[in-house]
């Protein structure tokens, strides 16, 4: 069970790690100063949450592994982040759409984890959810603003939702590990997460005057370590310093 908790905590950390990295790429490139600061602040929150998960995994392992080893020294198939989180930054509507879909899932996920029998997972979730409420508020307001804005902003927001939609079934695909964690009272029940997620999506889409695409070609794999071509590029960026100069520190 100890080993499963490690794997689960690592998986929980991988999605905010990769999304946090994606958002950090926007530092200095946001469409306006305010959105630039907001997206990088969200990145910082997510990376902070990752540190809590990874520090916990490192402590459980107890073999000298550090949080940095977990972030910087694994290979692609060892990362179990959602495919949604590794999708690239294209236009602003796409960035906001990706954020909104993740936030709408992240909030009820953490609500479930607050009830975890594992005290540290519950503590991390209780801490993180306060930050994630701000994230969801920010991203859903922007979805509404773009969706119900001009003809052009509406067109782009709809296009982004259409392009990202096939990554969403993976959010609720229950892996063996997740099932075992749920049954033992340690992990989230994804069916319950989905009920709240569906409600958020419906409310925001309606207010934003956007249509949900008919589900086509759902993409799975991230949670099992099978990634899109994007992750390799992210890791090349993320891991360069540690690979080029092993054990370097600031």
């Amino acid at each position: 069970m100890q080993e499963k908790i490690q794997q689960y905590a690592l998986m929980l950390g991988d999605s905010p790690l990769i999304l946090g990295h994606r958002l950090s790429e926007l530092c200095g490139h946001g469409p306006s100063l305010e959105t630039d600061m907001a997206l990088t602040n969200i990145s910082l929150d997510l990376l902070g949450q990752v540190r809590h998960y990874f520090q916990y995994v490192a402590k459980l392992k107890g073999d000298g592994t550090t949080e940095d080893d977990l972030a910087f020294l694994r290979y692609e198939p060892d990362y179990h982040n959602l495919l949604l989180t590794e999708q690239p930054n294209t236009d602003f509507a796409f960035i906001i759409g990706r954020q909104f879909l993740f936030d709408a899932y992240h909030l009820p996920l953490l609500e479930q984890l607050m009830e975890s029998r594992d005290e540290q997972l519950a503590a991390i979730a209780t801490k993180s959810i306060k930050e994630v409420r701000y994230h969801l508020r920010f991203s859903s307001e922007w979805v509404k603003r773009l969706g119900a804005g001009t003809e052009e902003s509406h067109r782009r927001m709809q296009k982004a939702i259409n392009a990202l939609w096939h990554f969403t079934p993976e959010l609720f695909e229950e892996t063996e590990l997740e099932r075992a964690m749920k049954e033992a009272g340690f992990g989230a029940d994804l069916e319950k997460v989905k009920v709240q997620y569906d409600q958020t999506i419906q409310e925001v889409m309606q207010a934003a005057n956007l249509q949900l695409p008919a589900e086509t070609h759902p993409q799975f794999g991230g949670k099992k370590g099978i990634h899109s071509e994007q992750l390799g590029f992210i890791l090349a960026d993320l891991q360069y310093m540690q690979r080029a100069y092993p054990n370097m520190t600031w």
């Binding site: 600061m37 929150d45 902070g48």
Partner: protein, 166 residues
Amino acid sequence: MTAGLVHIPMEVDAPLRSVSDPEIPVLSILDMGVVRAVELVGKQVHVKITPTYSGCPAMDMIAAEIKMALDMAGFNSEVELVLSPAWTTDWLTPEGRRKLEEYGIAAPLEDSADKLALMGQSRMVECPHCESKNTRMVSQFGSTACKALFQCNDCLEPFDYFKCLK
């Protein structure tokens, strides 16, 4: 909030009080409610601190400065990071709120008022420079994770607002 009250042994009060958040230098870590427990046995001190926001980059520095301040006061110290119970702006002391305002950062409102202010739906955040409530939200996210950016419509000065975190 009683959960905000932490007993600080008199001997280590001064060194701990001398440590401040590097982002908000006027605010002692004791006024921020970041110090959650202090155990003193002889010259050995065990300090538990909790982060304001998960990604707060100041935490590592605060931990290092606590060790240094206690070391200079002749104590051996250990600093431990704890996550539970999670930090809330309720733990800011009245003294801390006063210092924030003096420094030019508006102190957090209550939860429901905070939401309305951040949605730009109400004018309740008071300008720390001219005390006008005729202010507007510029950005929900500000110069650090804990702050939002506001501007006063009367004196036109921009200012930071410390967001309510519950």
